[in-house]
């Protein structure tokens, strides 16, 4: 297999095409511009449809429409743009429509800036839009993993008929690394969509809706969603562990911060500190049980994020009072170096 040097944004686009994405709708925003450019260049040439919409709202509703018509479809944006898409994402969840949403996060709130940040964790994992829905949220920490997870996002989204989000940030979108691109899927392996609006010839008409005016009916629809979310929680948890076997201090970090934390664990070990790392790959569902289990054996669980402490809430839910749960975060698009995080680790290791 040959490795190619690619930007995160480009690898995500290429992997989406290889996953059978036929329709991509967008409204451009930094720092995910290369994803849009790649799709504009490649997708039509390979038999798909690229459309730059008039707004983010339009783009997500085009995703809704394409998904209802039965094709694999995707949109991508960055933080403020995702905020604009939330209404449509809630509608997709309600209508049980698969589809992939990529968020290359930047500094917020508001217009913020275009530097890397992880301030959209709450938005991605706790709903964001209205109603009782969940998104499957996958958080890559390398360009290779971004390519693999966007393909997984299409599979999971189809399997559970729920939208899935790839949550990364400007660092991962902009950086280049070697990638071994996964082979394109065989379109025949995409699950059938008997519910899709494909023209009611020799069958009863299908209906794709996110509403039911009868409370009992809407309750049943919601119970169905909750059953699906329960199933996802039981079957689709993913995380990576580094040096957790004998760790006394555990770092929990995801995405870009997760890979910085890998360097921190290495440096801490060189200095005799038994540090370990849990890097959640699915942010929803979140690996509560494993973190709870590990917290029995460590003195400290340090959460590190490019935010004021969003995943931290889930870590504290998992750990309770079994270990100290300090937090290290950077704000506004500032990216800490491994040394910044290491000095935090030393503080708790020596305390």
């Amino acid at each position: 297999m040959s490795r190619v040097l690619m930007r995160g944004n480009e690898a995500i686009a290429e992997a989406a095409i290889r996953a059978g994405c036929q329709c991509y709708f967008c409204y451009p925003i930094t720092p995910q511009g290369e994803l849009v450019e790649y799709m504009a260049r490649e997708l039509p040439a390979r038999g798909g449809a690229f459309l730059q919409a008039e707004s983010e709202t339009a783009a997500i509703n085009m995703v809704y429409g394409a998904s209802a018509a039965g094709v694999r479809t995707m949109t991508s944006s960055s933080s403020p743009g995702i905020s604009l898409k939330l209404e449509g994402i809630s509608y997709m969840a309600g209508a049980r429509l698969p589809g992939v949403i990529v968020n290359i996060m930047r500094g917020g709130p508001g217009l913020g800036n275009i530097a890397p940040a992880q301030g959209d964790y709450f938005q991605a994992t706790k709903g964001g839009g209205h109603g009782d829905y969940r998104l499957i949220v996958l958080a890559p920490s390398s360009v290779q993993e971004a390519a693999e997870l966007v393909m997984l996002a299409f599979d999971l989204s189809d399997r559970y008929r729920t939208p899935a989000m790839l949550l990364a940030d400007g660092m991962l979108g902009q950086m280049m690394e070697p990638v071994e691109l996964p082979d394109p899927i065989d379109p025949a392996t995409i699950p059938g969509r008997p519910w899709a609006l494909t023209g009611a010839v020799d069958r009863a008409p299908n209906v794709v809706l996110s509403f039911d005016l009868d409370p009992q009916g809407l309750k049943e629809m919601n119970k169905g969603l909750q059953r699906t979310y329960q199933e996802i929680t039981e079957r689709e948890l993913r995380w990576e562990e580094v040096d957790t076997e004998d760790a006394d201090l555990l770092i929990v970090a995801y995405g870009s911060m997760g890979r910085i934390a890998k360097s921190v664990v290495r440096s801490a070990r060189e200095e005799g500190i038994k540090a370990g790392l849990v890097r959640p790959i699915t942010l929803w569902p979140f690996p509560y049980a494993r973190i709870r289990e590990l917290s029995e054996r460590v003195s400290t669980v340090l959460t590190a994020e490019l935010s004021a402490g969003q995943m931290w809430e889930d870590v504290r839910l998992a750990v309770g009072d079994r270990a100290a749960t300090p937090f290290f975060g950077e704000l506004g698009g500032v990216v800490p170096t491994p040394r910044d995080v290491l000095s935090e680790v030393k503080r708790y290791a020596n305390g």
Partner: protein, 188 residues
């Protein structure tokens, strides 16, 4: 103990620092190493300066941002001012002597002044200063062979529809490499 090197390329927008870093990353990958390339892409680019950080390693790379780089390629003086203090003790600074008037302030680093603009002008290829710089860096680092970097820039030019520029860029790499050789041998 694994080998890991962090290299910062910095200069004015237009001096080709992002491409120089990319060619190093690409050559490192072709040489069998793990690599990462992290650009500055923020408003600072629009203010006229650019930089990127390349990590070369024989193991999977954690942080693509670096506390204390082993090497700095400073194409102009603001880059030297900003990044010289960050270099690891014993690190190396490749300076563009055509544009940087001052000496390096650190005495615990190896300094390699290269008149990059003058060398590129001699080749009648003023835009190839980034490859002169990269050639000098390759000599100082001794991690990625010159020929592998030459192939990488040639491919890069080909992919950009400028295959005919491959040769002059290869030559610029060579000249930078030789210039660094002279400096390092004189200092040894």
């Amino acid at each position: 103990m694994n080998m890991e090197q962090g290299i910062v390329f910095a200069g004015f927008g237009g001096q080709g620092v992002l491409l120089a870093g990319k060619v190093l990353a690409r050559a490192g990958m072709e040489h069998g190493l793990e690599v990462s390339w992290l650009p500055s892409y923020g408003p600072e680019m629009r203010g006229g300066t650019a930089n990127c950080t390349v990590v070369l390693s024989d193991a999977l790379i954690g942080a693509p941002n670096v506390d204390a780089p082993q090497a700095l390629v400073a194409m102009n003086q603001p880059s030297l001012d900003r990044f010289e203090p960050q270099l690891v003790p014993g690190g190396v600074a490749i300076l563009n002597a055509s544009l940087i008037a001052r000496e390096a302030r650190r005495s615990d680093i190896t300094v390699v002044p290269i008149p990059m603009n003058d060398i590129a002008r001699e080749l009648d290829a003023p835009r190839a200063i980034n490859m002169v710089a990269l050639g000098a860096l390759l000599r100082a680092l001794d991690t990625v062979p010159l020929e592998v970097a030459g192939d990488a820039i040639a491919l890069e030019m080909e992919e950009r529809g400028r295959a005919k520029l491959g040769e002059v860029n290869r030559l610029a790499l060579q000249r930078g490499y030789e210039a660094a050789s002279s400096v390092l041998q004189a200092g040894a």
